[in-house]
Symmetry: C2
Subunit: 245 residues, 2 copies
């Protein structure tokens, strides 16, 4: 039984203040992870929030726009590893055996933007009882220097490569909302929710809900989008928020 869980950047950071943790929210999430039934392999991913995004915007780096400036790439990466250390620290404080997996060291994109990311490290960590914790980052990208890899892309890669049984996206929303602002219980086809999500905007590749839903629909595993209060329910095998499959 393998679970892939993403802690949204908006959840664990104060998005309005640069490089500021939302320590109460992160600590509550760490509590939930520590209290969860340990019978499942758990791979964690977290987003950037007020950490990496600031530097990515400063240098104009995105999933498609790269930089060949190693200093810029290292500033973005360094901001994300700082946030990653906070996440690891809060987990270690609660005896969760977390270890970092930095995409800049583990992945790369080729000239067609296809991601190479060996999951041997993550699999070995899981088999040895550790909890790998990865994050949005920069990665080397053929012809572009370095570009951004989002937490959502990592969740999808991990879920597929680990043949995950369940995927969870824990953030500041209680699920995917319909046009009336109510949480949709279940999504099985994008067309059913396209209007509520603002249509099929092809440019939405880094965190908008439409992109998330499309990505999650492509996975074999059922995925759940839910808020922080529902994290214990998800980790206990429940079905909070919106189920996407």
């Amino acid at each position: 039984m393998t679970t892939v869980l993403k802690l949204g950047g908006s959840l664990i950071t104060d998005k309005d203040r640069r490089e500021t943790l939302d320590d109460a929210a992160l600590s509550a999430a760490a509590d939930a992870v520590a209290d969860a039934d340990v019978g499942t392999d758990l791979a964690l991913v977290h987003g950037a929030g007020s950490f990496g995004h600031h530097y990515a915007e400063k240098y104009g780096v995105s999933v498609t726009e790269g930089t060949t400036d190693a200093g810029a790439a290292l500033e973005i990466h360094g901001s994300m590893t700082t946030l990653n250390r906070f996440v690891l620290s809060r987990l270690h404080d609660r005896n969760v055996p977390a270890l970092p997996v930095h995409p800049l060291s583990a992945g790369a994109r080729d000239g067609e933007a296809s991601l190479d990311f060996s999951l041997t490290t993550v699999c070995t960590m899981l088999d040895e009882g550790f909890v790998p914790v990865s994050h949005g980052d920069v990665v080397a990208h053929e012809g572009k220097g370095t570009t951004i890899i989002s937490g959502d892309e990592l969740v999808a890669r991990f879920a597929t490569a680990l043949d995950a049984d369940r995927v969870g996206l824990c953030s500041t929303v209680d699920g995917v909302y319909d046009a009336e602002g109510d949480v949709i219980d279940r999504i099985e086809r994008f067309d059913d929710v396209a209007d509520a999500l603002g249509g099929s905007d092809a440019t939405d590749v880094t965190g908008g809900m439409a992109g998330k839903v499309r990505t999650l629909l492509d996975l074999d595993a059922p995925a759940y989008v839910f808020g922080a209060a529902d994290l214990p329910t998800f980790l206990d095998g429940g079905e909070p928020g919106t189920r996407i499959d």
Copy 2:
């Protein structure tokens, strides 16, 4: 043309004082790298010196003895990433486009202690004009939790996987010494130097000169063992210290 260069931990740190940089030596090495002819791809590896070794000893972790304690592994790793940031910083100060490659994120060992380490990231970094900088570290190890990977093992892996043209080990010795304390000009067979190196001690796997020489003899590329003063000569294509091939 690809060069793999290791900066020894004893060179860039003060081995007698815990987590203390030898900033003069590191800065001189960074000067040499910055001043070198940029016509060659350069992959760097550095050792641990007074950084990682202290914590590895504290927790009894080695190439063969593992730990399942994530806190211990993270202390060793954190000490090495701290040193890695110093190295990156000194290189960036001199406009060398260095990026980190952390083995804990990129590699793992299986049950036979065989190393899986995807070099796609390093290759893409090199192709994009960056200088990947890796280091001794802990890696997940099937059946053992995490174990140490030495800088020397990384040098060998990089040299083979990158089909390197030249390998350099820059440290605090001017080469491999013979029984009289003179630098040996060239080594082509281990037996020729076994006596001078203290014989074929099979337990010497993490940094002793005998182990280094054995590893370097196995490489296709010629390798040079030399002191800090000879780094510019090596980077300019010269043949300082002891040539091993």
